[in-house]
Structures are given as structure tokens and as C-alpha cells.
């Protein structure tokens, strides 16, 4: 059973991580979670990012959401923004694609071109 008492230990550990990170620029993942994004499957994608980030213990990545940007046919969509670089937009993202995006793009700095909006056929 999970109890609220677990949170004391988590707090101590997390504060350390937050302090360590302060001077760094974080990578950002921004997921479209309006009606269109949610209907297309954005929720499992967002949860897959959280899981992958935790699995790899990445301290420099934040995941956030945004609304509808008007290209609903490409949902689920997300942007990956690395510090000092242009954002890269991924389209039709499925949870299975998330480990590759995290490993190749967020960790190694190489966008997964075939998943990006630049590779869209229509």
C-alpha cells in the first residue's frame, strides 16, 4: 500500500535533484492536449514520456501540455525543445514511439526525422 508517509522520503530526494538542476536549461516536451489531442490518444503518450523519463532518471526534462494549434489531423502532436535549438514537432505520436524520441532526440540530440512534421506526406 502507498501511504502519505512515503512522501517525506521522496521530498528529501527530490529537493536535492531540483537544487542540482537549477543552473541548467531543461529540455521541454510540450504535448497538445485539447479535445482533438485527447481523442487522438495524447494521454498515453504523455504518460509514456513520464515513464521513460523516470526509467532513465533524466533530471533535465520537463513535460507540459498545450491546447489545440489547429492541425488536429496530425494529433497526437508534440514539440521537443532542446536548449538553444529550434523546436521539433512530432506528429501522429504513439506511446511505442516515445522511447526512441527520448533516446535519440532528448538524450543524444538527433531528432527522429521520420516521425516529424517535415516527413508528413499530406
Amino acid at each position: 500500500m502507498k501511504s502519505l508517509a512515503d512522501l517525506q522520503a521522496i521530498r528529501a530526494k527530490t529537493l536535492e535533484n531540483i537544487n542540482m538542476r537549477k543552473d541548467d536549461n531543461a529540455a521541454r516536451v510540450v504535448i497538445g492536449m485539447a479535445t482533438c489531442g485527447i481523442a487522438a490518444g495524447a494521454r498515453p503518450v504523455m504518460l509514456a514520456f513520464m515513464e521513460e523519463i523516470q526509467k532513465r532518471n533524466l533530471q533535465h526534462v520537463t513535460v507540459s501540455q498545450t491546447g489545440c494549434i489547429g492541425m488536429c489531423r496530425y494529433e497526437p502532436m508534440l514539440d521537443v525543445i532542446l536548449p538553444g535549438q529550434e523546436k521539433v514537432t512530432y506528429i501522429h505520436v504513439k506511446p511505442e514511439m516515445v522511447p526512441r524520441i527520448v533516446a535519440e532526440h532528448i538524450v543524444n540530440g538527433q531528432p527522429v526525422e521520420e516521425y516529424t512534421i517535415g516527413a508528413a506526406k499530406d
Binding site: K2, R43, M50, S64
Partner: protein
């Protein structure tokens, strides 16, 4: 929208946009199989004029486009599954949405990943607002209150910190499974 939990995720966004401090989700399955979802917030509320037209797909507070489908789709899904849809709101006080469905009706939406929806809400709104979940079924009842979590964790730590997120996921899964596991999920 494939299931009720996705509707909930979508509709709760309206409460957050309305500046709520507390978003309450009540999911109740009664003995007759009627499932009622209540979504209540203490946000800015709606004027009677907006409230009257908000169930139309052509009403939205957005400025970029003229359609808003979240509320009308929920209303349609509730009504075609032998249930009701009501929306009460008062400016400055908040809004309460109630949607019911007969789980014995063939058109009733499946529940879907309710725990995943609550977790998504907490992770994408890591510091504010708070969420209160109250679940009840013939199997049991329970609550999950992020205000309690923040008291124990410290309100300066965001919920999307990976170790906190992992704790929330397990705690939510346990709680929701103990209420609806084997019945709705």
C-alpha cells in the same frame, strides 16, 4: 472520444481554464448500474447566457476557431446511454457538470483508464490547482485528495517530478482499483 475517462480529462480542462483552485471529480456507480460523473470546480463560472449556449458545438471561449466539441459530445454520449447531462454554473462561484449513463445500456461508454486521467491532470498541472477524487461503487468507496499529498510532500515540489509522479501513479491505481476494479475497469 472513446471512453468516459477521456471525456473527463477533456472537460476538466475547462475547470482549469476557469481558474479553479479545487477541481472535484465524483464517480458513483449505484446498485442499479447507473454511473454518475460529477465534475465540480470553484472557478470563475459562466454567465447565464454562456451557460445556455455552451452545449452547442458552435459555442467556445476560444478566439482562434468557432467550434468547441467537448461539452456537446459528452451530452450526446450521456443521453444516448439512457442518462442525463446537466450543467449548473454561477459567475464567481464555479461550475458543476453532471453526466450519467446506464452501464446496462449498449451505448454506454466504457470507463477507460480513469486512474490515467487523474494522473494526467495532476502531472500537467503540477503545482495548481488541487484535485479531489471521490469514488463510490457497490464494491466500496474512497477518496484521493491532492491537498493531502501536498501537505505531506511540501507544496513547493511539483507533481511532475519523476519520483513523485511514480508515487501518484501507484497510489491512484490502488485507490481506483479498490473501488471500481473488476466492476467498471
Amino acid at each position: 472520444m472513446r471512453d468516459l475517462s477521456l471525456h473527463l480529462l477533456d472537460l476538466a480542462q475547462n475547470s482549469i481554464t476557469a481558474g479553479a483552485n479545487l477541481v472535484t471529480v465524483r464517480m458513483t456507480l449505484d446498485d442499479s448500474g447507473m454511473l454518475t460523473m460529477e465534475l465540480e470546480d470553484d472557478g470563475k463560472g459562466m454567465s447565464p447566457e454562456l451557460l445556455a449556449r455552451v452545449t452547442s458545438p458552435f459555442a467556445t471561449t476560444r478566439t482562434t476557431r468557432k467550434v468547441g466539441l467537448g461539452i456537446p459530445m459528452m451530452k450526446e454520449n450521456a443521453e444516448k446511454a439512457g442518462g442525463n447531462f446537466t450543467l449548473e454554473s454561477e459567475e464567481g462561484k464555479g461550475t458543476k457538470l453532471t453526466a450519467s449513463m446506464d452501464t446496462g445500456n449498449i451505448d454506454c461508454l466504457p470507463m477507460g483508464d480513469l486512474s490515467g486521467t487523474m494522473l494526467s491532470l495532476m502531472l500537467t498541472n503540477p503545482l495548481h490547482p488541487d484535485f479531489l477524487f471521490e469514488g463510490k461503487s457497490p464494491k466500496g468507496e474512497g477518496t484521493f485528495d491532492t491537498r493531502e499529498v501536498r501537505t505531506a510532500l511540501g507544496s513547493d515540489i511539483p507533481f511532475n517530478e519523476p519520483s513523485v509522479a511514480a508515487w501518484l501513479k501507484e497510489a491512484l491505481d490502488e485507490e481506483i482499483n479498490s473501488i471500481f476494479g473488476g466492476i467498471l475497469i
